[in-house]
């Protein structure tokens, strides 16, 4: 009998609230997606080329898992609270009928376990389906192709998902049940559990409202104009942003109240009621609103940051596929292998060497010092390396780019430090400004643009600064005139046919078999992918998690409030309001409630995104604006769709509850 009751209650809970059940399933999907990251095709591939980095990332996962546990706890807590608040009378009745509190808690415990099991039965297959989809999509995106795909079922991920989910649900239920232990049955049986509304002090609410706006403006100003390094500004920005959001919502209730009061004499229908409902929600839930708004802000910025990181890394150009450190004859022997012969597009020697030429760099250093932020570069720059123009131009030709043209009085400045950040732009401005350099007593002007395409395959080898000089000059000033390595380019057809990764892996095999020392683009792309996956994947993951949690919290907070104020809707029905009118009022309330949270989050994230792209994390030069706009558009569309779905679900639930009131047929019972 007892377990039959548990089974029935759990089933009723699931049917009664899609939002509740949906939240539980989301929690499971969130856990599994994160925990099975190591099993994804991309990560398995990365483990073969960048095992240390992958190990570090996988070691980081437990930390992200704990962060997720913390946030998912709120999701589950609000979902469970919504359910138990709806059943207060039922619990009161059980107690009055003689059920011991311990038995009531045991019943709730059993219901929780049962709900967890059902959620897991649905959530785990959904998660598997989703992770397989992500795995396939990312594998396709990075050129692994379908060949490398393997169905992955991570048993440890399933076990940790189950543990985390059950733990979070039990903990949430425990926290919810503790107050029930102290609540008298009469209080549980009481129809109205709503808080009372009083007019906020005008001065106090105005002060909070204005303070909130001022603090937020300060945060926006600091973020856009003063955020250059991770220093005290970041702390002040975070503090003013967080306090500003809380303060704004604290004062918003009073602001709304004054607006309603002003408009009330001319209001018709349920306009005043709708306004007061929103105001009441804001007054009682201002902390939840602030937290949700901040979560949404974090969601939007995480996703934007993740996408920009992904784009930033993805735009790293492929300059060469292999740099082999062996003699020409040895390399030729391997590349003539039938299996890979047709895949090779070009092979050329790279002339790169240290130089001991007498260099006077006072003119360029002076030019650097004149540029804002150039002093540090002027102090640290040195000219130890030279590259031959012929090698560089052969690489440019293989990449399909224009060669650089140096006459006898010009040299080019080369740096493979990457195009992100100030370093590149400062150097570029210095050479564009007509700086010069003296070598062995002769003055050379600089080629007017900076060369940046990596001269060797592995991106671990970076040259802070080097000079590209004409070949005869290289022979004159280089310490080693023989080639540094041989670069090998694969044909586009091979890359397209097999997927670049597979093609490189095939040649890798041959080079390994011959025992040659080499660096491949694979190692570079591995590192590149590692950053893409670890940074953009994790930030996007957290972003989506925040988005779902914030929306669920807002939705459930509203629905809990409406359920607590059911009697108001009954009174309005008695006073002559129709259910359609009540539903339309509820819909307006939901829209306004969500808009209030979204408005602040969207404005703040716009400021945050501007700050991200102008301050700390500039997009690399040459990143396609179309790609950025398209991806941002897709992200925005997903965001708008998520919001629309949540708002729709909450509206539907609210209207269903209102319609059920009419079926109750009023509060009267026969006397």
């Amino acid at each position: 009998m007892f377990f039959k009751q548990v089974y029935r209650n759990a089933a009723k809970n699931r049917k009664g609230s899609g939002l509740f059940f949906g939240s539980l399933v989301i929690a499971i999907v969130a856990f599994y997606t994160l925990l099975s990251l190591g099993e994804q095709d991309v990560m398995r591939f990365l483990a073969t080329v960048e095992s240390d980095a992958v190990k570090k990332l996988l070691a980081l996962l437990p930390v992200v898992y704990v962060i997720s546990l913390f946030f998912v706890f709120f999701l589950v807590y609000f979902a469970c609270k919504y359910q138990t608040d709806n059943r207060r009378r039922e619990f009161g009745m059980y107690l009055m009928l003689g059920m011991k509190r311990s038995r009531l808690f045991f019943m709730l415990f059993c219901e929780t376990v049962w709900s967890s099991l059902v959620s897991l039965l649905i959530g785990l297959p959904v998660s598997l389906f989703l992770t397989e989809g992500i795995s396939l999509a990312t594998a396709k995106l990075v050129g692994l192709g379908l060949i490398g795909h393997r169905f992955s079922l991570s048993i440890p991920a399933i076990l940790w998902t189950v543990c985390g989910f059950v733990l979070v649900q039990m903990f949430a239920m425990l926290i919810i049940c503790i107050p029930f232990g102290r609540t008298e049955p009469a209080e549980l049986l009481r129809f109205d559990a709503s808080k009372r509304q009083t007019e906020q002090s005008k001065a106090k609410s105005s002060a909070f409202f204005v303070l909130g706006i001022l603090l937020l403006l300060t945060a926006y100003y600091l973020g856009i104009f003063h955020l250059r390094n991770l220093d005290i500004t970041v702390l002040i920005l975070l503090l003013s942003g967080i306090l500003g959001t809380f303060s704004l919502y604290r004062g918003l209730g009073g602001f709304l109240g004054r607006r309603i009061h002003r408009k009330a004499p001319d209001a018709r229908g349920l306009a005043t009621f709708t306004g007061r409902q929103v105001q009441e929600n804001v007054i009682h839930q201002h902390q939840a609103l602030a937290v949700s708004s901040l979560l949404l802000l974090m969601a939007l910025t995480c996703v934007s940051y993740g996408i920009s990181l992904g784009i930033g890394r993805a735009t790293d150009t492929r300059s060469t596929d292999f740099s082999i450190f062996a003699s020409e004859a040895e390399i030729e022997a391997v590349l003539e292998d039938e299996e890979i012969h047709d895949m090779i597009r070009s092979v050329y020697p790279v002339y790169l060497s240290r130089t001991e030429a007498a260099i006077d760099d006072s003119v360029i250093k002076e030019a650097l010092r004149k540029i804002d932020g150039g002093e540090a570069i002027a102090q640290s720059i040195h000219w130890d390396y030279v590259i031959s123009q012929g090698s560089y131009n052969q690489m440019m030709a293989a990449m399909g780019k224009d060669p650089i043209d140096l006459d006898g009085e010009t040299v080019a400045l080369f740096s493979s430090m990457g195009r992100e950040g100030d370093f590149f732009s400062i150097l570029d401005r210095a050479v564009e400004g007509g700086a010069s350099i003296q070598m062995n007593g002769r003055e050379y002007s600089f080629y007017p643009s900076l060369c940046y395409d990596n001269i060797v395959a592995d991106r671990a080898i970076t040259l802070y600064a080097a000079l590209i000089v004409p070949d005869p000059m290289f022979a004159e000033i280089a310490l080693k005139t023989e080639s540094y390595c041989q670069n090998v380019h694969l044909t586009d057809a091979a890359a397209e046919e097999m997927g670049l990764m597979q093609a490189i892996q095939k040649v890798d095999g041959k080079l390994d078999a011959a025992g040659l020392e080499y660096d491949s683009f694979l190692a570079g792309i591995g590192r590149n992918l590692f950053y893409t996956v670890s940074a953009s994947y994790l930030t996007i993951y957290l972003g989506i998690l925040f988005l779902l949690i914030a929306n669920t919290v807002i939705g459930l907070k509203y629905l809990i409030g409406q359920r607590q104020n059911k009697h108001r809707y009954l009174t309005l029905l008695t006073l002559g309001a129709g259910t359609e009118e009540l539903c339309s009022s509820a819909k307006k309330q939901i829209q306004t409630f969500f808009s209030l949270v979204l408005a602040v989050a969207v404005i703040s994230s716009a400021a945050a995104i501007v700050s991200m792209f102008t301050g700390l994390t500039k997009l690399p030069i040459g990143t396609s604006a179309v790609t950025v706009i398209t991806l941002a558009g897709i992200a925005l569309l997903v965001f708008v769709l998520t919001e629309a779905i949540y708002i729709h679900v909450v509206k539907k639930t609210a209207c269903r509850e209102i319609c059920s009131l009419e079926k109750i047929g009023g509060r009267g019972v026969a006397s």
Binding site: R196, R268, G269, T571, L573, E581, G665, G668, A670, S671
Partner: protein, 260 residues
């Protein structure tokens, strides 16, 4: 009774809850009329069917059979907007637990039925001021219910019931949640609204004190009208009428054999 005076006719009204063996007949064919400007009391023991009767007239529940005719129209046929119009404009309702919306100010609560029927508070400003002064709530109009005493809340609820100028105000135990002092103030004021504005009030009550303000009382037992008392307004004081009510109530409590 002159039919032109009649505002409401309840004709052979029955209400049955449950089915088969679990059937409970709350109303068993009640018939009576209410005259315009009358202050009618409905009294009876718990379970006698008085609140069911009031809820049927208020359209909160549908009767099983019979008719409720208000100004010649059968309200059981009302649906949709006509029903909504009836609820807020033709009848006013005064609840035992006030049922004020606690997130609206007293003023907003009072003007709510008007707003629901497309009128603004500004348009009814004069009417509201008059009611507020009659019910002695002019000083608390901008306060929220949580800031009001029980008596003030019920007077605000009364103002809300009268603001749309309804044909009939239904009151369900309006003094049930008030102490004796506030009960007296409320009944004095309801009686004065009835007298001065000519409003028809139908009140369900247990309280003989409250009932003594009525001009006529119907006693209900087991879903039927069992007895009727009329107050001789010109010569009978509230105290004398009270005595008669108490006597009938005692006799009702003692069983049918003692009834007049």
């Amino acid at each position: 009774m002159n039919t032109t005076d009649r505002i409401l006719r309840v004709d052979s009204l029955t209400k049955t809850y449950g089915k088969g063996g679990n059937k409970t007949e709350a109303l068993r064919g009640i018939t009576f009329d209410v005259r315009e400007g009358e202050f009618l009391g409905i009294m009876g023991a718990s379970g006698s069917g008085k609140t069911t009767l009031l809820n049927c007239i208020a359209t909160m529940i549908r009767p099983t059979s019979g008719k409720v005719i208000l100004r010649g129209q059968d309200i059981s046929e009302f649906r949709g907007s006509r029903l909504a119009d009836y609820r807020g404009r033709i009848i006013g309702y005064l609840f035992q637990e006030f049922e004020l919306l606690d997130n609206l100010t007293a003023r907003e609560n009072i003007t709510l039925p008007l707003a629901l029927h497309g009128k603004t508070a500004r348009e009814a400003e004069g009417k509201m001021r008059k009611l507020a002064s009659m019910l002695d709530i002019a000083g608390v109009l901008d306060q929220f219910p949580s800031q009001l005493s029980g008596g003030q809340k019920q007077r605000v609820a009364a103002a809300r019931a009268f603001i749309a100028n309804p044909d009939l105000v239904l009151a369900d135990e309006p003094t049930g949640a008030l102490d004796s002092k506030n009960s007296k103030i409320l009944m004095d004021q309801l009686a004065s609204v009835n007298r001065e504005l000519g409003k028809t009030i139908m009140m369900v009550t247990h309280d003989a004190n409250a009932a003594s303000y009525c001009s006529r009382i119907l006693f209900i037992q087991d879903g039927r009208v069992f007895h009727e008392l009329r107050r001789h307004t010109e010569k009978e004081s509230t105290a004398a009428f009270y005595e008669r009510i108490v006597t009938v109530t005692a006799q009702l409590g003692g069983g049918g054999a003692n009834v007049l």
